[in-house]
Symmetry: C2
Subunit: 255 residues, 2 copies
DNA sequence: GTCTATACCACGATAGAC
DNA sequence: GTCTATCGTGGTATAGAC
């Protein structure tokens, strides 16, 4: 339901998985020739192609050609193109989610800054994602765009999978916001969070993330805190805003 | 660039087009049988199916079956599935855009409410779109979702077409916001507008628009002003927010 | 268990006959 | 304008070799 799941993950988890696959002793001949098992080669090729051309722009035939495996191997090892995609998604999002949960707990244990509680929660939510936006080493911005698209146009399959998989963490953040914003009704808060998270993911996924990032302070592009200090007040103001006043309604009704 | 184009249109323009097509004397036999020309029947069937199943979920074979025409007729009359889609999009967005421009001019001629200038511009931008969200007569909420998806994942074809087609109106609104928010840099304003428009379109397009609309005040669901009075303060606060302060940056840096 | 060759069906598009 | 036939490409399924 809520789009908490759309903000990417660190890029380290995947390498671990490849290593595990490579270490598994289930392949012999092919592996000697290419250093990696069929299953792992598919994963590598898929990740690379999805990042470059997107989900729909990447055919199974392109993947299997790139990986030097048979067309049917994808379905054999991963079931379907969609499941392969979901796996890649989790490989990225799982560590991100864990990271965010850990940071939130640390912040709660340490105690919030009284004045900037909302902004601190926002920061906790987005810092890991922002870091990835620059991790060009593992295709950072491309992956942001990739995930952004995936979130905007997913099959029910992927959407439900992610919503369930990260439900617990999402709830923790919702509760943290709720405590920081007691004047908002549950419905009000839920809607505003949806707005904010949709907007951030869509912005991060947009073609001009780099312009957004680079335009703030060219000399500090590598400092995530700089970007966040830019975003947080804007997002925080939206969350803090009081519900409509009678005067506001009157002004609008003259239209 | 800026997603001004994603907020739907009135649903009246299309009927006009159908009428024009029907009046055109270029068909004879088939028209006598079905009351509408091949070209018009394709348009009717396409609109209905796109709204129900989305662009990708609708095949040309489904359209031509529904319209009782030959498969090749779509390509003959409209060039491609993509161009057919773009035509339907314009048919909706053109009148919406004209309406918004007219309302903005009227508001500027009449003069803003000094206190709620930003909210009034927001209202001018969104009232026509919100009205459509309830125009179930012509597939209101479905069309919101349809357009939302189209905006999130469009081909360059559609994206560029819309960006160019509505550039003038978009610029007028940007300038109106700029005058109402002189404390924001151009870059700052552009980014915040992107956030807000993305968020609104994505929210309107989401599966639970009805819940959002219905949850506010069940007794006033048909009153667009009610919904807007709910959204505008939230969006206005985001736009008005001051840029970061030193204290805010310090609070974030402790993370 | 893995892998390959191959067949299948749906899709958008188009050439050419009428 | 309309229609048939067909093309190339897509995801998927399976029989059978290793």
């Amino acid at each position: 339901m809520s789009p908490f799941e759309n903000l990417i993950s660190p890029s380290t988890g995947f390498t671990r998985d490849i290593a595990a696959l490579t270490a598994a002793g289930s392949t012999t001949a092919n592996e000697a020739r290419t250093k990696l098992s069929t299953k792992a080669r598919i994963l590598h090729a898929t990740e690379s192609l999805f990042l470059q051309r997107g989900y729909e722009g990447t055919s199974l035939r392109a993947i299997t050609t790139e990986a030097n495996v048979n067309l049917a191997a994808v379905n054999y090892h991963y079931g379907s193109k969609e499941e392969l995609f979901a796996l890649l998604l989790q490989e990225r999002l799982d560590p991100l989610n864990a990271d965010r949960a850990k940071r939130l707990e640390a912040l709660q244990a340490k105690g919030f800054d009284r004045e900037h509680r909302v902004e601190q929660i926002i920061a906790t939510l987005f810092l890991p994602a922002l870091a990835l936006a620059r991790d060009t080493d593992q295709g950072g911005p491309d992956f942001l765009r990739f995930i952004g698209r995936a979130y905007a146009d997913p099959s029910d399959f992927v959407r439900n999978l992610l919503a369930e998989r990260y439900a617990k963490t999402n709830l923790k953040f919702k509760q943290a916001f709720a405590e920081a914003l007691p004047h908002l009704s549950e419905h009000d808060l839920a809607m505003r969070l949806n707005f904010i998270l949709d907007a951030v993911s869509s912005t991060l996924a947009s073609e001009d993330v780099r312009r957004v990032i680079g335009g703030i302070q060219p000399s500090a592009v590598n400092d995530d805190t700089t970007l966040l200090a830019y975003l947080a007040p804007f997002l925080g103001a939206a969350l803090r805003a009081n519900v409509r006043t009678a005067a506001q309604i009157a002004a609008l009704q003259t239209l």
